[in-house]
């Protein structure tokens, strides 16, 4: 592999990884606050892509309003899912909650399949012009840069919300101890709703961006990136926002280089590398050694 090709593959990997990172942020955030692996997250991403699709085609909206509408719509769906499916089970075991999340995931996928059919739909070509950008010998395109930029921006914004605002303080308190937080006058239900709203809005944004990037969306589009993003979140240290970002990028880069080396084994070898790293550092790249709270 020549140096130029190496550089180009690195850029390809970062581009792919930025998609994973964007979805992983939502996974890790919900996990960090309420300890739930929200399997329906990747389907909220799909819902966001569909809301964006209808905003762009039926309503004929340009890019920015489409993105905002998809984020708001996904946030509403996310909050609704939490209210209807997860809240009644809050006192139940985490396994029940996990199974419920899988149920919601299947419900969304098959529900959308029943209503919209699984025929792929394509975003209008003119919604966001994809421009090739050349930097010396290597090149990328504007859309990948936008996705990377949006991921960085959202990561910083999330860090700001969690560590610098009142609601963020309430989130951290809820994360540490729900009952104690409630005793301190924190409205735990409200905090959890806000967490889901933010996480789902991120997924919705990712859905629209990826929908435009790959031109086609369908009800099952969330499954594969969902698994990858979840892996990225665990890899980076689940519950940690910079971890999700770093994990996403690294997963993308590892996958790309394995594909470039020997493509028929890309999926398998990529994950073997991840497992090897997790064996050495079980709490993830940025994770601290977890000590059991007594």
């Amino acid at each position: 592999m020549s140096f130029v090709e190496f550089l180009q593959q690195l850029i390809n990997g970062l581009s792919l990884g930025s998609v994973y990172a964007l979805i992983a942020l939502g996974y890790t955030m919900v996990y960090g606050i309420i300890g739930l692996i929200n399997f329906a997250h990747c389907d909220i991403y799909m819902v966001g892509a569909y809301i964006g699709f209808f905003a762009a085609t039926s309503l004929g909206l340009p890019f920015v309003p489409t993105l905002i509408l998809a984020m708001v719509g996904s946030a509403v769906v996310g909050v609704l899912v939490e209210r209807v499916a997860y809240r009644p089970l809050r006192k139940a075991s985490s396994i029940s909650l996990l199974i419920t999340a899988m149920g919601v995931s299947l419900l969304l996928e098959n529900g959308f399949n029943a209503v919209f059919s699984s025929t792929p739909r394509s975003y209008p070509h003119n919604i966001l012009q994809q421009k090739n950008i050349t930097l010396g010998p290597v090149h990328t395109d504007s859309l990948h840069l936008i996705i990377l930029g949006v991921s960085v921006l959202l990561m910083i914004l999330l860090q700001f919300i969690i560590y610098r605002t009142r609601i963020g303080k309430a989130m951290r308190a809820t994360s540490a101890d729900k009952d104690a937080a409630a005793l301190m006058g924190i409205n735990v239900d409200w905090v959890i709703s806000v967490t889901f709203a933010i996480g789902s809005a991120l997924a919705g944004a990712a859905g629209v961006l990826v929908g435009i990037l790959y031109s086609s969306i369908d009800p099952y589009m969330g499954i594969q990136p969902g698994i990858k993003a979840f892996t990225a979140a665990v890899f980076g240290g689940i519950g940690l926002i910079p971890g999700a970002f770093l994990g996403g990028l690294m997963l993308g880069v590892i996958e790309t280089f394995v594909t470039a080396w020997y493509s028929p084994l890309a999926g398998a070898i990529g994950f073997i590398v991840l497992i090897a790293i997790l064996i050495v550092k079980p709490s993830g790249l940025l994770g601290k050694k977890a000590s059991e709270k007594v």
């Binding site: 020549s2 090709e5 180009q8 593959q9 390809n12 990997g13 581009s15 792919l16 998609v19 399949n113 059919s117 699984s118 025929t119 792929p120 394509s122 070509h125 994809q130 090739n132 090149h139 395109d141 990826v210 790959y214 031109s215 086609s216 369908d218 499954i223 594969q224 996958e255 790309t256 280089f257 594909t259 470039a260 493509s263 028929p264 890309a266 999926g267």
Partner: protein
């Protein structure tokens, strides 16, 4: 007294039998009351001849399935208008395979066991056809796919026929076309590692291409990012890039390939053949060549008649899937007519000896029950596929 007792016995037996009969028919809404016993011949015992059709009506390949269904429904209408098969009307029972092999098997079993069809048209996709073929063979139900191009399908047994050419044939044809018409010296291949169709075409192209294969890359079904593979191919600067996959992937690959600077001509098989190719691929899929079975621009009498009839019923031109499935149905209907029976073995024999001209031209079957016929090459121009040439190996 003794007589009365025997009478009572007989009556109660008859009663039990009729209840049992009721329960059996309740289970399947679509099967007729005559369904008790004698599974193989019941399709003929009603006043309709039932033919099953397994097709993806939903899923990422639904555009193929829906076109195919339209073609077959047109045939059903025409055959019944002309008095059916030997006085009996035909009924096409379509079931959705969702484009998945496992669903196709369930759907096929439902057709055989519940609907008591005498033969099955389809499945439309190769993967589904491979999965369903052994089951049709087991029940002695003739299966005739109009579009399942994977080589292995007809190896399941002597019940399995196809009216299209095989994957190796398409790979061979495109290798020949690339060398002779496009004067290609070098080629690269990017195939879907999880698809029988894609692997079949890739292997055949590889062994038939007389120039140099500079690079072969693959991806996993469901992948949307092809940057890594295409970046690796780009420096080889091949004359043609062979893409043996379905339209959705082709469109995304074509866009990515152009953005990483690949200048090669894209070529492929009939998986390209969908209007969705252009709505997703845009400019990147202009000037590509692919092999297929049929073109609406073909000037032969059969094609123009078919296009006229199809337009009258649905508006718009029929695509290859409509024409091919129509052909598969037509070959089957003619063979049932000739066999004079809906018995599996009789239909099988009639199919083996079939020789006739359908929409896509003259068809006969070789000893492996694969159709012997010519291929059409299509070139894309201004968001449309245009008839380019006809070619045989």
């Amino acid at each position: 007294m003794a007589n009365q007792r025997i009478m009572a016995c007989v009556l109660s037996l008859a009663l039990t039998a009729s209840f049992a009969g009721c329960q059996q028919t309740n289970g399947s809404a679509s099967s007729s009351a005559a369904a008790a016993g004698n599974a193989a011949n019941t399709a003929a015992s009603g006043d309709t001849i039932k033919i099953g059709f397994v097709t993806p009506l939903t899923g990422s390949t639904s555009s193929y399935g829906q076109s195919s269904q339209k073609g077959l429904q047109l045939l059903e209408e025409q055959v019944n208008k002309e008095g059916g098969i030997n006085g009996k009307k035909i009924q096409i029972i379509s079931v959705d395979s969702e484009g998945k092999a496992a669903t196709a098997v369930t759907a096929g079993q439902k057709l055989i066991n519940d609907d008591k069809v005498c033969a099955i048209v389809g499945p439309v996709l190769s993967g589904s056809s491979n999965a369903l073929a052994p089951i049709c063979q087991q029940y002695n139900i003739p299966m005739i796919t109009g579009t399942g191009t994977n080589e292995n399908i007809t190896t399941a047994g002597d019940c399995i026929f196809r009216t299209c050419f095989t994957d190796p044939f398409q790979g061979k044809i495109m290798a020949k076309f690339a060398t002779e018409k496009l004067k290609a010296k070098t080629a690269a291949i990017l195939y879907d590692n999880g698809s029988d169709y894609s692997k079949g075409l890739a292997e055949a192209f590889k062994s038939a291409f007389t120039g140099k294969i500079v690079d072969t890359e693959s991806y996993n079904s469901g992948d949307k990012d092809f940057n890594a593979q295409l970046t690796k191919i780009a420096p080889y600067n091949p004359d043609v890039l062979f893409l043996p996959e379905y339209y959705e992937d082709v469109a995304v690959i074509a866009k990515t390939a152009r953005s990483v600077g690949i200048k090669a001509t894209f070529i492929g098989g009939d998986g390209f053949d969908s209007p969705k190719l252009f709505s997703i691929g845009g400019d990147a899929v202009e000037g590509v060549y692919f092999s297929t079975h049929y073109s609406a621009d073909d000037t032969s009498a059969e094609v123009s008649q078919f296009v006229k009839d199809y337009k009258a019923k649905y508006g718009g031109d029929p695509d290859a899937f409509a024409a091919l499935t129509y052909d598969a149905g037509k070959v089957l209907v003619d063979s049932i007519k000739k066999a004079g029976s809906t018995d599996g073995t009789a239909i099988k024999t009639a199919l083996k000896n079939y020789s006739g001209t359908v929409v896509c031209g003259k068809i006969t079957f070789d000893k492996n029950r694969n159709a012997v016929k010519a291929a059409v090459i299509i070139k894309t121009e201004n968001g449309k596929g245009k008839f380019f040439t006809k070619i045989t190996v």
